[in-house]
């Protein structure tokens, strides 16, 4: 077992707890033990940079200090928003020693900026390339057409951060889906925004953005959408009925976490993975395709 530091973030301890459970199951089966870092705090998400520039860097910095102190070399952050904020903070402090000292003076565990911050795809891709992922699959997800949805914060950053994937047309999730035997569709809205927190404070705008995404996925013949971000998942799942009614979309699509498809393919029990906690039923499609 390789140990990797793990920052779940607030969402995976609350409304998207199922994603936390699935991440642990899937990575454990791939020989990676997720070691949740001790006493982590909220990263400030998208609200911090809109409210206070210091806190936007300082809140993730405290978590980076805790992560550095574990002595582990890599930390995975499944939530796109937490991942983005933490990476931005690390990058900023690398180039701003004055700010780093100022923040460190308040911290028990000082930020060194040493630990590698990874998204869930960064952790999965080496397992795909080495063949370990394919070796662990027991069921082929044949006939399951997936629209892989990356959203904003996996590939786009407010500062100069290089990404392993193509920024405008990322394909790592498609490659994972193919390895599982699924059929990813080619579509145009994989990196468009779902509105994120605008679903709370600018609801109509967010519903409109979601309608573009859902309409295109349906038009391209997808059976479902696959994502890695708990905020995108929640938005597209919880508000889908409303979006479909308002914009005349006549097909509902389950919104899977990538860990759900990997887990099903690994032969895990869907209830143990809590796939029954979706708003748009996510079990029926799996039954229909003979996968559970």
């Amino acid at each position: 077992m390789t140990e990797v530091a793990y920052y779940p973030g607030c969402s995976l301890h609350a409304s998207s707890e199922l994603y936390d459970v699935q991440c642990r199951m899937v990575f454990s089966n791939l020989g990676i033990e997720l070691k949740e870092i001790d006493d982590w705090n909220c990263c400030g998400a998208t609200a911090a940079p809109k409210t206070d520039d210091f806190l936007a860097i300082a809140l993730p910095a405290r978590n980076l200090g805790i992560a550095d102190a574990t002595g582990l070399s890599e930390m995975v952050i499944p939530c796109s928003s937490c991942y983005s904020r933490t990476l931005v903070s690390q990058k900023r402090l690398l180039n701003d020693s004055k700010l780093k000292d100022e923040i460190n003076s308040e911290l028990n565990n000082k930020v060194e900026g040493r630990i590698k911050v990874s998204s869930i795809l960064d952790l999965l891709m080496p397992k795909l390339h080495s063949g370990e992922l394919a070796a662990k699959t027991q069921k082929k997800l044949s006939g399951l057409k997936t629209a892989c949805y990356y959203g904003c914060l996996l590939t786009r950053f407010p500062c100069d951060i290089s990404v392993d994937d193509n920024v405008e047309n990322p394909e790592s999730m498609e490659k994972i889906c193919e390895a599982l035997g699924a059929e990813p569709v080619d579509w145009g809205y994989k990196t468009d925004c779902c509105g994120a927190s605008a679903s709370v404070n600018d609801t109509e705008q967010s519903l409109l953005l979601m309608s573009y995404i859902l309409k295109d996925a349906v038009a391209r013949g997808a059976d479902c959408i696959v994502t890695t971000c708990p905020l995108c998942q929640m938005n597209l799942d919880a508000h889908q009925k409303k979006v479909c009614e308002k914009y005349g979309i006549n097909k509902e699509l389950p919104i899977y976490f990538i860990t759900e498809l990997i887990g099903i393919s690994m032969g895990f029990d869907p209830i143990a993975m809590q796939i029954d906690r979706h708003f748009v039923d996510a079990l029926d499609l799996l039954k229909e395709k003979g996968l559970v």
Partner: protein, 206 residues
């Protein structure tokens, strides 16, 4: 004939431009109005202002317009404009800066809900060190409903309560509603960072 000439005070506009550029960390003057950002902006159409227009307002020193437009409050910080910009200007960082500057200038935001959401989120995240969804949403709904109540906008209040009750019920049924409160052990560290930022709860209640 109406006088359509652009009014621009060179000294004042220069000061405003430098402040926004410095605080947002963006080289605003590099913009040559190619409008690739405008083509990619997901909210520009509804906001009536696209990133290139916002940048133009700033370079012309139109402070009032730059701090008072829908793009500042509707921007979803998707960073598409910045990725597409040939000069690497992140307008999403600029809208984040302008939100803060508008607050400092005592300007009433066009969209209170955006301000209320962000401040409620920060308040909840700072109280126990983690964002507890039920707590954050309660602070936000209280702020929003009180504000609508002051305006006598009962229609908005009813819609807000109806929408939130619907979502809350669905979350409850799907076991996605989390009612627990998580608190970090070394909370004083987070509190001290908030203090250092000058983030006071009183100021935030406004």
């Amino acid at each position: 004939m109406p006088d359509n000439r652009i009014q621009c005070n060179i000294i004042e506009s220069g000061l405003f431009l430098s402040e926004v550029a410095e605080r947002s960390g963006q080289n605003i003057s590099a913009c040559y109005q190619c409008r690739r950002c405008a083509a990619g902006c997901p909210v520009g159409m509804q906001a009536g202002v696209t990133p290139d227009r916002l940048i133009r307002m700033i370079t012309l020193g139109q402070k009032h317009e730059a701090l008072n437009n829908l793009l500042v409050w509707k921007c979803v910080a998707c960073y598409t404009c910045g990725v597409r910009c040939p000069n690497n200007i992140q307008t999403a960082r600029i809208t984040e800066t302008l939100k803060q500057m508008a607050k400092e200038a005592g300007i009433e935001p066009i969209m209170h809900r955006t301000l209320d959401f962000n401040s409620s989120f920060m308040q909840a995240a700072g109280r126990l060190g983690r964002f507890n969804e039920l707590e954050g949403m309660t602070i936000y709904e209280t702020k929003t409903i009180l504000r609508d109540l002051k305006k006598g906008d009962l229609k908005s209040i009813i819609k807000e309560i109806k929408d939130r009750a619907e979502l809350g019920l669905a979350m409850f049924q799907k076991k996605r509603l989390h009612t627990g409160f998580e608190r970090i052990k070394r909370l004083s560290e987070v509190k001290n960072l908030y203090k250092k930022a000058g983030f006071s709860r009183k100021e935030d209640r406004q």
